[in-house]
Each structure stands twice: as C-alpha cells, then as structure tokens.
C-alpha cells in the first residue's frame, strides 16, 4: 500500500494478497493447500503488520466458519483454497448465502476431481462455484485473467461482498495464480473501498433482514449494541426462524432480488476485436491469454474474430453474448474443463450461432495454435 503508483513483479497469488490488503481485509482464516498457499503465507505476515489478524484453522470447514464469525464481528474477511478445500467449504458457504454474510473465497483451481493433479491448472470448479452448496441461492464469482486483474478483482470481490452482503468467489486457475508479471499498484488513495451499510436507527427499531430500497439490509456487527439473531434457518425480517410460507418465500426470493438488481454492475466483461467480428472466442482465466494470441494469428490470416472475455462467471453475463449473437457465425469456448461455461453459452445462444467447445482436462493448458487450428476448422 503505497502513496504513488508502484510497479512490482509478482505472481497472481501475491496480487490477490495485495488486493485483499488494499480492499481493507483485516481477517484471514485458512488451511494450507496447493496451489493457493502463498496467499495464506503472505497474509500471515502482512495482516499483523497492518493490525489485522490471521489464523490457520484445523481444516477448510473451520476456515470459512472463522471468517463468517469475524465478518459478523465487523471485519472484511477472505480465505483462499483450492478444489478439495473448496468442497469442504460448501456447507458454510450456504450459511453465508442465507445469513447474508459478506466474505470472499479465493479458489485457485487445480485439476480434479478429488486430489486430482494437485499442481496443475484447471477451470473445473466453475459449476461447483455456482451450485456447490445445497439449496437455491445466488452467488457472485469473478475470474481474473492476468496477474494485474487478480489484484483488481480481489478488491472488487471484497467490495461486492460488502455491498451485496453476499459471499463472493474468486475463481483463479493455477496458471494465473503462479504466473509472474509486472503489476502496477495504484496508490491507496485511488482504491475504491466499499463498506457494508451499518444500521443507524435505535436498537429497538433494527430489523436485521428488512431489505432497504437497494434490496440489501444494513448489517450490524456483534458488540455494537444491536443485539440480534443470525441463523442458517429460513428466517423472517427479525432474523428469527420461520416456517411461514410467505416469510420463507420472501427470505429466499430476497436473496436473488438483491443480486438481480446489481446484475449489470457485477458483470465484468471485456471485448477485444469484436467490432467487425464474425466469429468469437468466449474465454476467461488463463484461456484469455491463449485466445488473445490465437486471435492475432487468425486476424493475420484474414479471419474476422474477436474475444468476449468474461471477468464475471456468476451471475452469467448473458447480455455480453446477446449483444453480438446477431453478427456471429461461430463461437468457440476453450476451457480447462469438459465444457462448463460452454453450456451457458449454448443456453444463451438459443440456436443462433454455431458453438464449438475446446476442452482440456489433463493438467496442461490449451495453446494458441490449438485454438487457431480449431477456429480454422470451424470457419471453413
């Protein structure tokens, strides 16, 4: 955290840790797991230097539980993990969704299932991020495609968590996590920090789950004089358990409404070479790097192709595709999984363009040449 823009060579995991600090995260709980461990190691050093706290828990179940507890105490919180740990976090991720607790989970994705290929990249947890915890719930998942984005998206993740009182997942593939690049770190004064809205009414008037016009209720910290109840049961505006069908409906629908209202803001998308594009690559994470290089080569050989780069995966930014569908003949979705976002693209497309997937699940990445070859096959 500096007073003027500084430039540093750092890896994606380091950029996440720097982003967390810049966003005002003051509490981290985690459990060691490859390939995310650097985030924990860096924050174990850096948090206490800044008056924050770090704790290594007994497992990932405890890690997310501890950051929920600290968030209820008023801290901005974050944990970092990878596939197996992310699986263990699903239980309390659901709690945080229903109880509307701001927190960030960084999942540096490795190849699964199970222990899988522990040190190899993957994008296999995209659907798990969406539906991993049981029950209907909204989720926000961001995915950086460069080291610098890892820094900025971590800040955005913390801000979205605070603004929408919802868990936010940063899905980063191992390539970005361990890639080193020069990153420009803006001065702290240029960093936007969003804090959850705190209640300011008298204690007796406070209804912890009464939604304001934004769809989000103000959140009191424990110890601030607003004695209230937080539960993982379906609850009414007071936070008390209810089985009343109308109150249950309001509770669950309210979770979705607040994210729907923020949909446009939450959806981070970029377009590259799309103006005249007849073909597109929909890419996210490290696949953006391969796609970018492939597009350069394909443009040189006269193929009008561009990229729709997804920075947000959930909620799925369908408008980013819909906007270009009328002009597109083919779309390629390269992914380090069996085709998870491909299915979303199919769903949005509804029969307009030809959509192909290009998948890899052997722990290696998809190289630009392979994309070039596939696109040339499609375009013909």
């Amino acid at each position: 955290m500096t007073k003027k823009t500084s430039y540093r060579l750092m890896q994606g995991n380091e950029a996440v840790a720097e982003g967390a600090l810049a966003a005002g995260v003051s509490f981290f709980a985690g459990y060691p797991i490859t390939p995310s461990t650097e985030i924990a190691e860096i924050l174990a050093d850096r948090l206490p230097e800044n008056g924050g706290k770090f704790i290594q828990m007994e497992d990932e179940i405890g890690s997310i539980a501890a950051i929920i507890g600290a968030s209820i105490g008023g801290c901005k919180t974050l944990t970092a993990t990878s596939g197996p740990g992310f699986s263990l976090m699903q239980e309390n991720l659901g709690f945080a969704c229903l109880a509307e607790i701001p927190l960030v989970i960084v999942n540096v994705m490795r190849t699964g299932p199970s222990t899988g290929l522990a040190t190899s990249p993957s994008q296999g947890d995209v659907m798990q991020a969406r539906w991993g915890t049981h029950g209907d719930h909204p989720i926000i998942a961001l995915t950086p495609s460069s080291v610098e984005e890892a820094f900025h998206y971590t800040i955005k993740a913390v801000n979205f968590a605070e603004k929408y009182r919802n868990p936010v997942i940063v899905l980063m593939d191992e390539v970005i996590g361990h890639m080193r690049a020069r990153v420009s770190l803006p001065p702290q004064s240029m960093i936007e920090q969003i804090n959850r809205v705190q209640p300011n009414m008298p204690h007796e008037w406070y209804l912890p789950y009464e939604r304001s016009a934004t769809g989000v209720a103000p959140m009191a910290s424990f110890g601030d004089g607003y004695r209230y109840h937080i539960t993982g049961l379906i609850h009414d505006a007071k936070g008390f358990p209810t089985a009343n069908p109308n109150e249950a409906r309001d509770n669950i629908r309210g979770l979705f409404t607040k994210i729907e209202r923020g949909f446009r803001e939450i959806c981070l998308v970029d377009y590259e070479c799309m103006d005249d594009a007849e073909h597109a690559i929909v890419a996210y994470g490290s696949m953006v790097l391969s796609a970018r290089s492939a597009i350069e080569q394909l443009r040189e050989s006269g193929i009008k192709i561009g990229m729709i780069k997804l920075g947000t995966l959930w909620p799925f930014p369908r408008f980013a595709l819909e906007r270009f569908l009328p002009q597109l003949k083919t779309i390629l979705v390269p992914e380090l999984n069996m085709g998870q976002i491909y299915r979303e693209v199919l769903r949005v497309n509804a029969g307009k363009a030809v959509i192909e997937k290009l998948n890899r699940v052997n722990g290696t990445i998809i190289a630009p040449d392979e994309i070039v070859k596939t696109v040339k096959g499609m375009v013909r």
Binding site: E58, I68, G69, A70, K238
Partner: protein
Amino acid sequence: MISNSQLVNKYFRHSKKFPHIWCPGCGIGIILGNMLRSIDALAIDKNDIAFVSGIGCTGRAPVYVDFNTLHTTHGRALPFATGLKLARPELNVIVATGDGDATAIGGNHLIHACRRNIDITTIIFNNYIYGMTGGQYSPTTPHGDKAYTCKLGNIERPFNISALVEAAGATFVGRTTSYHTLQMQNIIKKAIRHKGFSVVEIITHCPTTYGRLNRKGGAVEMLKWQKEVAIDKSRAEKMSPTELEGRIITGVLIEKELPEFCEQYDSIIEQAQNQTKGKLK
C-alpha cells in the same frame, strides 16, 4: 439472586414467538436458565455477550435470549466463535453445544479450540443422544444402552468429554449435572471469568428419547439419577476406582493459567509492527 420473573423479563426476547421447541421435561431449559443466572450474577452487559450454537436441540437455545446470538451449522459453532472472538476480543463468547454437535461432527473443532486456548466458554449439554432427529446414539451414549439406531444396545464405547477436552488442552474443565443447579451456576461463572478456553460439561436428560428407550423413567427420575451418580471431586479423590465405578465426578476438574490466544496474537501484531517500523528506518 434474581427472581424467575425478573430473569424472564430481563433476558428473554419479547419479540420472539414462544413457546420454545423443547419437549416437556427437557433438561436444556434448566441449563439455559442457570446460565442466565450466572451471567446476571457476573453483571455482564447483554451487549457484551455473544451466544453461539451449532445444530440440535441445544443449538436452538440462543434464539430465545437477548444477546448477540448466532445459530451456526452442525458442529461448527466453535470455529465461528473463534473468528468472532478474534474480531471482537472484548466480547464474552459463550458456545452452547450438544454431545453430538461437540464431539461427533464438531469433534475436530473442539480439540483444536482446546489446544489453541482461545478465551471462549463452551457449555456442552450432554444428554447421551441425538434428540432433534429423534433418538439416535451419540458419541456419549453409554455402551450397551439403546437408541433408535442401536435398538439391541450400543456396541461403541462412549467419550468421556471432560477427559477428552482435558487431554486436548482445555485450561478450564468443569462438570456438573442439570440437577445440581447451584454448582452449575458456580462453575459457569468461573468458566466465563476464566481467561482461556473453558469447557463446562453438563450431564442432562432427554426423557423423550434416551429416557424412554432405556426405561429411565420421566424427567424427575432422571434428575434423581443425576443426583445419585454425581460425586464431587473433593470426595471422589478419597475413593477407590471400584467405589467410583458408575459415578460421575463433578466440580471444577481443571483450572490452570496458560497464555491466551488473542492476547498472544496482540503481541504478534506488536512485534510485526515494530519490525516494519525498523525496516522503514
């Protein structure tokens, strides 16, 4: 001492729709009531108490009382409480958990919280059974006793919770029963005052499932049984192992001072900040 009506008026949530969910004769209400009496005797401000629970019959206790209350997931009350305590060290964090919640699904969190010696008071309501789900055997169901998942008798050996948490490093361990209410209040008071991780194991009764299945009679008979088997630590020390067979030793079993986690972390912050200042020079 505070009267019952004063206790109800002062600590129960008027906005919460009663009646509570517990069965007639349940021991949980006795423990909750005495916990409130202990808190009242210590004159702790209600704003300074965070009351955290897991899942099960015991897990429902916080919703009824006027503190900062947090009803978490099954077995996870302690890691939630750990994060909260670190964020708000000035809060008195009290965890209510049942035998299944604390020692089965939450067993790993329990032993690590003991080892860490973080200043949290954990009250374990031990009624030997999973009550909320209708009476399945728990890690404390005695060998040979019946439950709906061991109708021919439990073939597993039970945990001795107090011994378990002592071995795991809890710096305060007390045990009592729901019959011995004055002892309970004293132990809970000491546990809350104790700087470090404290566990109070309270033997209680579930007449609806455990009592019925094992022909222990109703709540009154089960309370009488607690009175008979409990023996104070001071008297137990003079008795032989044979004499102590089938008895439950009560009282403050462990009380020692060791560095507390949050205080130690504060010194880590201080050291880290001094180092950074050094670097800048």
